[in-house]
């Protein structure tokens, strides 16, 4: 049995039947990481010692008869984007500022995962502070796309998607502020969920832009993602923006019939600028949905074009404030250690919040944000979910867009709107380009519609084989 290819449910089954131990499982992944990380640069920190200790502990519990009902992820290795605070395990947010920072506490998401028995393998690479769409802005060097090492894996959670595609982990926790889970998922042919703002606690995750940051699961298929969400979702007394809404059982409701489901197609997403291969892939996906009885509805999101400007004003404003704490007094390295992109966004945000410019930039962006929310509310009167591309272009080459920041920002044109509206969106693979690079799509729903999105995604996944395809490494 090839242990590194397992999904969560397969791994659980094997552990239950004692076909292998949590230690064996963990060792297999650690070995795989050792082998592939030098090429991919997907992990910033591998915590081998801690992982093996946790694995031994899990084996002990399994031997003592601990159940997966009590600890649903018992013995399952995973990894996290390096923005989650992990007690005494280095947490850098991809920035040299925090090169030597050992958090004295755990992020709520991480605490929930270890409480449910999961084993942390390490912390994955990302654009520093989440600022980027290619992972090239990591101060620890770029991550390579496992499907072609000359290409970027997307960003900012590029390491997260890369380790999934390369079978260096079973599941991942990413973070999505403007597309950071969905773009890498699309670029690496993995599944990623940007949750409703407030569905998963942000406590302990290093902030990029507080009103947009969404913590979310990433996996090799939809049912894994559903299972992880059931563990990490829920209100948190440490996060005032977390929702008190009860957590649903996301796994048991997959496989619901989608006959009559109204799928909205936003005309603005399919106009100029969309790569034709991506357009074709989405159309083929639509065909599958139609065959399953779904109804296609034309909708409009009139403020689509304003998304990027609105996003960059709000996100930069918030990040300029969130990054103020790295003032050189406590974390070892001073503000000189900020990379180019962080400096750019700090300056942009500081400017947008300055007196005399606030109304014109920050406040105006907030008003447009309301309009974008209204766009979605109106759209969801006509349909239950929206189907859209994740990005207008397929994965691009390392270095290709570094010189043209505006081009780089435009990669997020279809994703930022969802963060601005605070709604959930599930990204999953829907094909490959002629060059053999992954293409992804996103299924967007109204607030707290994760259950429905996962079901729709699962229905599609069952009808296709994309999730079974693996890069040659």
């Amino acid at each position: 049995m090839d242990l590194i290819k397992l999904t969560i449910s397969e791994a659980k089954k094997g552990l239950k039947k004692k076909e292998f131990s949590a230690r064996e499982l963990t060792e297999n992944y650690l070995e795989r990481i050792k082998k592939l990380n030098p090429q991919l640069n997907a992990f910033i920190t591998v915590c081998e010692k801690e992982a093996l200790e946790s694995a031994d502990h899990a084996d002990k519990l399994i031997l003592q008869g601990e159940t997966w009902e009590a600890q649903p992820l018992l013995g399952i290795p995973f990894s996290m984007k390096d923005v989650y605070s992990t007690k005494n395990i280095r947490t850098t947010a991809g920035s040299k500022i925090l090169e030597n920072y050992l958090p004295p506490y755990n992020a709520s998401v991480y605490q929930k995962l270890i409480d449910s028995g999961a084993i942390l393998l390490g912390k994955t690479n990302c654009d520093a502070w989440g600022h980027g769409s290619s992972t090239e802005n990591s101060d620890f060097g770029p991550t390579k796309n496992p499907w072609n090492l000359d290409y970027v894996p997307g960003g900012s959670s590029g390491g997260s998607a890369a380790v999934l595609a390369a079978d260096m982990t079973i599941f991942e926790i990413g973070e999505d502020t403007g597309g950071s889970i969905r773009l890498p998922s699309a670029f690496c042919a993995t599944v990623g969920l940007k949750v409703t703002y407030g569905r998963v606690s942000r406590y302990g995750a290093i902030s990029y832009a507080s009103s947009l940051d969404s913590m979310g699961p990433m996996g090799k298929n939809v049912s894994d993602v559903a299972e992880i969400l059931s563990v990490i979702a829920g209100s948190d007394s440490h996060d005032a923006t977390s929702s008190p809404r009860p957590v649903e059982d996301y796994s048991s409701s997959l496989n619901q019939d989608i006959k009559g489901l109204k799928i909205g197609i936003p005309s603005e997403f399919f106009s100029k600028g969309l790569n034709s291969e991506i357009k074709d892939a989405i159309n083929k996906a639509l065909q599958i949905f139609k065959e399953k009885g779904a109804e296609i509805v034309d909708i409009s999101l009139p403020h689509t074009e304003d998304g990027i400007a609105t996003y960059y004003l709000i996100a930069s404003s918030e990040t300029s404030s969130n990054l103020a704490r790295y003032d050189g007094i406590r974390f070892g390295n001073d503000r000189e250690y900020f990379g180019q992109e962080a400096k750019k966004r700090i300056m942009l945000g500081t400017y947008a919040l300055s007196s005399g410019y606030y109304d014109q930039y920050y406040l105006k962006a907030q008003k447009v944000r309301s309009l974008i929310k209204n766009d979605f509310e109106k759209a969801f009167n006509k349909c239950e979910v929206i189907l859209a591309p994740v990005s207008p272009i397929p994965p691009f080459k390392l270095g290709e867009k570094i010189a043209d920041p505006l081009q780089m920002y435009l990669v997020d044109v279809y994703t930022v709107l969802i963060n601005l509206a605070g709604i959930p969106s599930l990204a999953l693979p829907c094909g490959f380009s002629k060059a053999g690079l992954p293409i992804g799509m996103q299924i967007i729903g109204p607030q707290f519609s994760e259950k429905s999105l996962l079901n729709v995604g699962y229905q599609y996944e069952q009808a296709t084989d994309w999730q079974k395809m693996k890069p040659e490494l």
Binding site: Y84, S321, A324, R325
Partner: protein, 462 residues
């Protein structure tokens, strides 16, 4: 030339909630070992998030209600961005354009109204300790960082970081330092009545920042009489009512002298130097900070319903002014008596309890008031019932006034030589006379009273 001072005031009051404003750490930092009341939130560690303290918000609103403010049905927190080593997040969570309370007033004894512009909630900063010489501080053994300058360095104690602060801002309605001090005493009394702060100046529970400017009296008669001066000077670092008075008086004089010379004082922040009783320039308008306020995205907006407002109102105890008026009306006290008896809730409650018990013994409220105010007995160590008992006892022991008069006259007549000696300045003779009277009354009566009566009697004769 004559000038009229225009003074406004910002007061920070630290609340005595159990926990800090945005985390569960103890807010009681006074005299604690540095950096022992800390957590990721009040240290501003990466990823930590603020969760507002409901109790603090309620108390802030109660202060607002006690100052006759309007409560905002919709409010929010904002970030005030600036760099300072005592500010771990690089911003302070405060309130900008929608404070919890606004448009209140405090009425001074002269019936003058001092407008309250706003009452808002924010968090305190950490405390910096600037050290001179390595010997002042014993670094923990595990300290590995190098201290490059062993003579001069600063330490940060985060125990105070995130302690709830309420800021109360007035209109520029004060015309002199006496009004400011009266206002401050009233404000201090109110927050103590509400039992939301110790309001102890020495411990930094209450911090004062007056802003002062002056305008020419002659201008007042013209049409622009209500126009404020084009500048104002804010004075910081004041930690007592006495110093606020001195600082304001100093500024009025300094600014007046500048205007006399035809100069306009500059808009600036000055610090009060209590050693030399003067103010010193700290920062001018050109260096003023742009705080880049924006809504705190980590805390959702905060609303309050009418029923929640009524609930808060019901929690507000009778405040000093109401109490004073009731004491005058119900107990027939004089204004000055009532004023003294409402100084604290403890005194007022003691008085009312004693009045209740005294009634059963036919003792007047005014008698209790007198004995408490004149401090003829140390009532602070007694129970109200014990005070009443003492009054009842002393009444019983009181001689009928006429009888005492007669005894005194008799003794003065009898002890002529002692009287002569006393009049020549021999003070011991008075004690001899008192002793003689006491012997006659067989110990009854108050020696002080007897002494007083003898002096009066001798005065009549000469």
């Amino acid at each position: 030339m004559k000038y009229q001072p225009v003074i406004g005031l910002e007061v920070h009051v630290e609340l005595k909630t159990k926990s800090k404003m945005f985390c569960g750490c103890s807010a009681d930092y006074f005299g604690t070992e540095p950096n022992t009341h800390v957590c990721p939130v009040c240290l501003g560690l990466p990823g930590a998030l603020p969760v507002p303290n409901r109790q603090a918000i309620d108390w802030c609103r109660m202060i607002g209600l006690a100052l006759n403010c309007q409560l905002a049905s919709f409010s929010k927190f904002d970030r005030k961005n600036y760099f300072y080593p005592d500010l771990p997040k690089g911003y302070q969570i405060s309130q900008y354009d929608i404070p919890f309370c606004d448009k209140g007033e405090i009425i001074l004894s002269s019936d003058k109204k001092i407008g309250i512009t706003r009452v808002h909630m924010e968090e305190d900063t950490a405390k910096l300790m600037h050290q001179l010489g390595i010997s002042n501080f014993h670094f923990p053994k595990e300290t590995t960082f190098p201290i490059s300058n062993k003579e001069k360095y600063s330490l940060i104690d985060f125990n105070r970081s995130g302690v709830p602060l309420v800021e109360i801002v007035t209109e520029p309605d004060f015309e002199n330092s006496q009004e400011v001090v009266e206002y401050l005493k009233k404000l201090q009394q109110i927050v103590r009545y509400l039992d939301v702060s110790n309001a102890d100046m020495e411990k930094g529970d209450m911090r004062l920042e007056p802003n002062i400017s002056v305008r020419e009296i002659s201008n007042l008669k013209s049409q622009i009489s209500n126009e404020l001066p084009k500048y104002k000077v804010e004075v910081k670092n004041i930690n007592s009512f006495r110093f606020v008075e001195k600082a304001i008086n100093y500024e009025i004089q300094r600014q007046g002298e500048l205007l006399d010379k035809g100069k306009t004082p500059i808009q600036e922040t000055r610090g009060y130097d209590e050693v030399h009783n003067r103010t010193v320039s700290q920062r001018t308008k050109e260096e003023a900070q742009d705080y880049r306020y924006f809504p705190e995205p980590d805390i959702p907006p905060i609303r309050i319903s009418e029923s929640q407002i009524s609930n808060l109102k019901s929690q507000i105890p009778e405040l000093p002014t109401e109490k004073k008026n009731r004491f005058i009306k119900d107990y027939g006290l004089r204004e000055d008596q009532a004023f003294q008896l409402v100084e604290t809730r403890k005194i007022a409650d003691f008085f009312e309890e004693a009045v209740k018990i005294g009634k059963k013994f036919g003792i007047e409220a005014t008698a209790i008031a007198n004995i408490m105010i004149n401090k003829r007995v140390d009532w602070s160590r007694m129970l109200p019932a014990e005070l009443v008992e003492a009054i009842v006892k002393s009444k019983r022991e009181d001689l009928p006034a006429m009888e005492l008069e007669n005894i005194i006259s008799e003794i003065i007549k009898k002890e002529g030589s002692a009287v002569t000696n006393y009049k020549r300045g021999k003070s011991g003779s008075m004690e001899f006379l008192v002793g003689k009277v006491m012997a006659q009354t067989k110990g009854k009566g108050n020696p002080n009273q007897i002494r007083q009566k003898i002096i009066e009697k001798l005065g009549e004769k000469s």
